[in-house]
Symmetry: C2
Subunit: 198 residues, 2 copies
DNA sequence: TCTTTATTCGAACGCTCGTTCGAAAAACCC
DNA sequence: GGGTTTTTCGAACGAGCGTTCGAATAAAGA
């Protein structure tokens, strides 16, 4: 990787961390300069402005998570196994890239114009991917319910930026298993131990 | 209700709508003045400042939803029925007060000092309430899982401000039923039609 | 009607923000 | 080492922000 690209990536990483901590609107370009070790003006050599910074963070992260999900689905054709693989990938990726994923989930309103359109395009592909998985798991469900269930599952998974601590006692694989069992089997029914389903 | 209180409440309502639409940080006091029909300076007769406005919105809404939940639980002692009642109340209240609840869910970071402390106090009571309900439904589950399941359920419910349209084809009661069935019975198992459980 | 209190508002202040500019410094190439 | 390009940065600008102030208006009480 060329040194320019490395510094650009480092800038995005630092910025994502600050955005996740303070929130996009409350962080100033001076905050980002201090956190990334570059001068205030120096940031503008790599990026058009603050919103462009947010765009690159979101675009990179969303592309990564979409590509990762698609390749995670290659391992099986069984509908339930594919859904399980999707959830596991999403949750573990989320836990491994908390800052970027929080920025992606929480700062969806901040972009505008072409940037917003491009990110929304990826989002639609990602949502459609999960919705098709649910259709394969329960083909008889009406579309309205399936759509609501899709968002319910995304809510379960994306909400973790509000409470989950990747360094805590609950590792992301166990969390993924738990969420999968809740969504597929239900909380009350899924009384088997965490590792190893029925 | 005294005219002063009525105008104060109207101010909060208008402000909540604008906060929900544009986001707290991106809305200016001038936006709020225009939306509520008061002059810019006039707002400060009712409120200490922008953050105080957010605090009152959150405090009122959170107190309402907590009180409502507690009284909704009075109707039964059966654990599963109580959980069902909680979910139904939360979801229908959310749908009926979208603006305030979105501000509550999405702008949790914007407060500071005593305001933040007071709101977090209510939040803790509300979260504890649901966690105790889950304990009664599945007493044998380890605390770590029960806690994660609590947040998973809140995620399912609170995420709706990202997609749900109260004026759309899916009414809030049906949505509450669907989320309840997913959480209690699981998506794959809950294949019965929406109206009327198994 | 006069006095007092409650309510509203135009105008302005001070500050912080994102951004820009031109020059300095570093890296690269022959 | 001279010349060119890439990269960095101090300093400043202009706009927009939350807030304040004092006066004007409306309401209430005597």
């Amino acid at each position: 990787m060329r040194p320019y690209d490395e510094r650009f990536t480092a800038l995005l990483t630092h910025a994502a961390r600050v955005f996740a901590g303070r929130g996009y609107d409350r962080t100033t370009m001076r905050d980002l300069a201090a956190a990334s070790g570059v001068s205030l003006a120096g940031i503008y050599y790599y990026v058009r402005g603050k919103e462009d910074l947010l765009y690159h963070i979101q675009e990179r992260c969303f592309t990564q998570v979409l590509d990762g999900a698609e390749s995670a689905l290659q391992v099986t054709v069984d509908p339930e196994e594919r859904l399980t693989a999707f959830i596991r990938h999403h949750v573990t990726f989320f836990a491994a890239h908390m800052a970027e994923m929080k920025v992606l989930s929480h700062e969806a309103q901040a972009l505008s114009g072409d940037s917003l359109r491009k990110v929304n395009q990826i989002k639609r592909r990602y949502v459609n991917l999960l919705e098709r998985l649910l259709k394969d798991v329960a083909p008889e469900r009406p579309p309205l319910e399936r759509s609501a269930a899709t968002y319910a599952l995304f809510g379960m998974m994306n909400w973790i930026y509000n409470w989950y601590d990747p360094a805590g006692a609950l590792d992301s694989g166990t969390l993924a298993d738990l969420l999968t069992r809740i969504f597929l089997g239900g909380f009350a029914e899924a009384r088997s131990p965490v590792t190893g389903g029925s």
